[in-house]
Symmetry: C2
Subunit: 560 residues, 2 copies
Amino acid sequence: MSRLIALFLCVLATMALAEARIRRYKWDVKYEFKSPDCYKKLVIIINGRSPGPSILAQQSDVVVVEVTNGLVTENLAIHWHGIRQIGSPWSDGTEGVTQCPIFPGDTFTYRFVVDRPGTYLYHAHYGMQRAAGLYGSIQVSLPDGMAEPFAYDYDKSIILNDWYHKSTYEQAAGLSSIPFGWVGEPQSLLIQGRGKFNCSKLASPTLDPTACNATSSECLPYVLTVIPGKTYRLRISSMTALSALSFQIEGHNMTIVEADGHYVEPVVAQNLFIYSGETYSVLIKIDQEPSRNYWIMTNIVSRNATATTPPGLRVPPTGPPAGPIWNDVAPRLAQSLAIKARQGYIHTPPPKSDRAIVFLNTQNKIDGYFHWSVNNVSFTLPHTPYLIALKENLHHVFDQSPPPDRLRDFTNYDIYRVANNTNATSSNAIYRLKFNTTVDIILQNANTLTANTSETHPWHLHGHDFWVLGYGTGKFDADNDPKKYNLVNPIKKNTVAVHPYGWTALRFVADNPGVWVFHCHIEPHLYMGMGVVFEEGVERVGKLPSEIMGCGETKGFKRP
Amino acid sequence: MSRLIALFLCVLATMALAEARIRRYKWDVKYEFKSPDCYKKLVIIINGRSPGPSILAQQSDVVVVEVTNGLVTENLAIHWHGIRQIGSPWSDGTEGVTQCPIFPGDTFTYRFVVDRPGTYLYHAHYGMQRAAGLYGSIQVSLPDGMAEPFAYDYDKSIILNDWYHKSTYEQAAGLSSIPFGWVGEPQSLLIQGRGKFNCSKLASPTLDPTACNATSSECLPYVLTVIPGKTYRLRISSMTALSALSFQIEGHNMTIVEADGHYVEPVVAQNLFIYSGETYSVLIKIDQEPSRNYWIMTNIVSRNATATTPPGLRVPPTGPPAGPIWNDVAPRLAQSLAIKARQGYIHTPPPKSDRAIVFLNTQNKIDGYFHWSVNNVSFTLPHTPYLIALKENLHHVFDQSPPPDRLRDFTNYDIYRVANNTNATSSNAIYRLKFNTTVDIILQNANTLTANTSETHPWHLHGHDFWVLGYGTGKFDADNDPKKYNLVNPIKKNTVAVHPYGWTALRFVADNPGVWVFHCHIEPHLYMGMGVVFEEGVERVGKLPSEIMGCGETKGFKRP
């Protein structure tokens, strides 16, 4: 009798395991008029929504997303931000790098393993499509029976975004125009897809009386209803096109416990500084006077902008709390420095690197057009994706001579002045990394083409997490700064900021066969060339699925 | 000695002939901000211009156009309107019918013979892209030594257009939304790409002070400088998205001498009524007082709209002449009836047809969405082009059961009332015509979903000219109306109007192997389903170029 029971339990367990293994999603992508900040504009939606549906999975699950492109004349690609795509480099969703775009009417199936718990994102990775509203959250839970190293009662995800009223077409055309048309500061900040533009700022009378509707249910403020005494885990992530943000909850401290899917040695903060492409988990204890409401606020930092998220209903009794001073870098650098791997969850980096690459971040003018560049090379995408080109030996589809590991005269480069980078070029050349070697990247910030200006750039690496070994102010000193690297408990991340006039040092092991883009996560900066591509172990990549082909030189590539 | 001279002359003649045979164009297509009516918006331009470069060729020339798609995320296709594509059905440029769209970064080469003299057009034929500004003129001259049957001193081309400030993305999304978002009347009318929107109509202050600039050189009025006593041939064509137009030159009569590439028995007119997709040549004699200027005016007819083309510089001393009464169908029907083939250039139609198809034009609601339909079938495009599907026997990519040759209860259909067309469907089924048979098409207009409303629809046939056998008011009488067909000197055209509550009868011979779309040339009407597709002799079509493939089920079709 006892044996029968054991068998029965065993079958149940197997079934539960089997059920957990594949998470299937069917997504229809199209344009629709939405009013996320009360102002009506075309938004790219997934199954009717922006942000799109959240992907909820458990560690080791296979996520299968069938994406149907219903955009009429426009192609599509979706990137799974923070998912390393180990064994599935063709599912990274970066147009021009790992796949051809999905053509109108086509259905493309992304299939990948979520191998680690944590908070991740997805978003369009084609042109400037991300800023049109195609983004969402991925939350991966621990295996059954395993627990986080912190306790909480409820788990909520909040994606922050900035929002523009101009279409991404208009934004992109402006960026590649003479005279240059900058996207400007956003009209609104969105919290979980909701913001509030002040309709009275619009010219009146507008041609379309429904263009801005302050009472639209779509722009009701985001409200988090909480239970006194409970602890909430808030998964805060940023999908901004441009803005660096500060996030705060009036009267409540936050304890940062996770960053980009890695546990953080707890840091208590009043403001969470968060850059585009980053995800954090913070814990908040509902320990304040329960008879009133409190502000959930985002503010722009690092740029002198005014957009915030004004309230709608249920206004708190106090005015909104002031955000940090926009151009005070010190508290932001302090937070960056405070984020370390949590004790007991430290992955120690290799003590030395095999190759160190210094990426000088500059703004340039090439043929009269504004660009962003790395070592005076502005990145452009080929129309034949690198992954296919490399596997199929299509050498002619991109520049075969590698870009430099550092600027030739980096030693004499003055990062504090407007440089005369007249030798800047555009190129689709890539960095080829020796498989399994350890690579250091030093992101070096500098002055832009405007005097006394250096911007914040959040750099995001595909296919990897990197260790954040250090941050510094001023120019990187290759002799002395590496001695100060944190090799004890550095956090691993996939997105990291380089602060104005500063440097950030990263280390990763080139152990994931594929082709991976590393780029500033500011949408117009990437569009203007602020990125590089790494190839590693591409010879170890298995047979490519023919579904990723069909563009550029891969038209007609059909596999038996 | 005389033999040498003869040889020399002969060589020269051959060279001249050879030089005339191929007309090569290289076009780069991209988005750019333009202000054609003083209001700045994104426009699709060819080599920097909208309208694009004119194609100037001579009868029997081969036109080769290499189109490079620089639209970043959007695909592309260009149709050569009025060119029958005899022997080159894959160059017709209709996305979903004769080719896959051109993907971003790709270069596609259109190659076709211009086998007849006359005035033709080109424009985008994908989504609603045409209305974004991708259009231009094709002018084919007679062979050397041949003369037109009318005399003129100068030859000028003027394309008329209507112009919207909303993007075609916004327009298309509105049309396929619940609630329905109609494109509305245009903000301006353009003459050869120039119009004048009254900037003071814009809300003020606008967010962008450069959004409307009444003094922009891009919206200087179109000025035709003429020489007294001379005769001008004006090639007037209409590329409107929606509007039916009246065109007039103050104080000057026009003599209509060409329509859609066919010579017309001269008709003197004060107003030229012209529908989207039509081309006319008119002669004007410069016989008025030369010390002053005269208005060149377009007005909208058939819809109650207000947009006209106000003047900028050099205003004539008199106010602009009044256009015709917008809803007076009589003069428009009269012009339609007056257009006959010119004596000496009559192509007599076959006396009888093998098949008569009645296309009842209706507006419908299907699943809550507004559609336009033919015989209660609203046309949708497959993602695998018909031409390839038919040649490659891909039967599953479109509905194989043919749509009806007439509405089942057409006899009892009341064209004067709002019909309860609850049985309307969407379909991508096509009409298969027996090769070399003679086909009659009766376009039957009817009431829309709005009481007491019937619109004007200009129908355009690809791959053919048709004879216009007759027009009538009210419901077509299959027993008696055909007896009144003009079989003596009917004009041949590729675009013809069906007037409100009226019918138009056409005849053509299905002798051009290929797949040809026949549709209302109003861009939102086609987008909403107002079209059909004919297949004829597809088994005679030669090997398809693999360049037209790569979408839908033809991904991976590569020919050796």
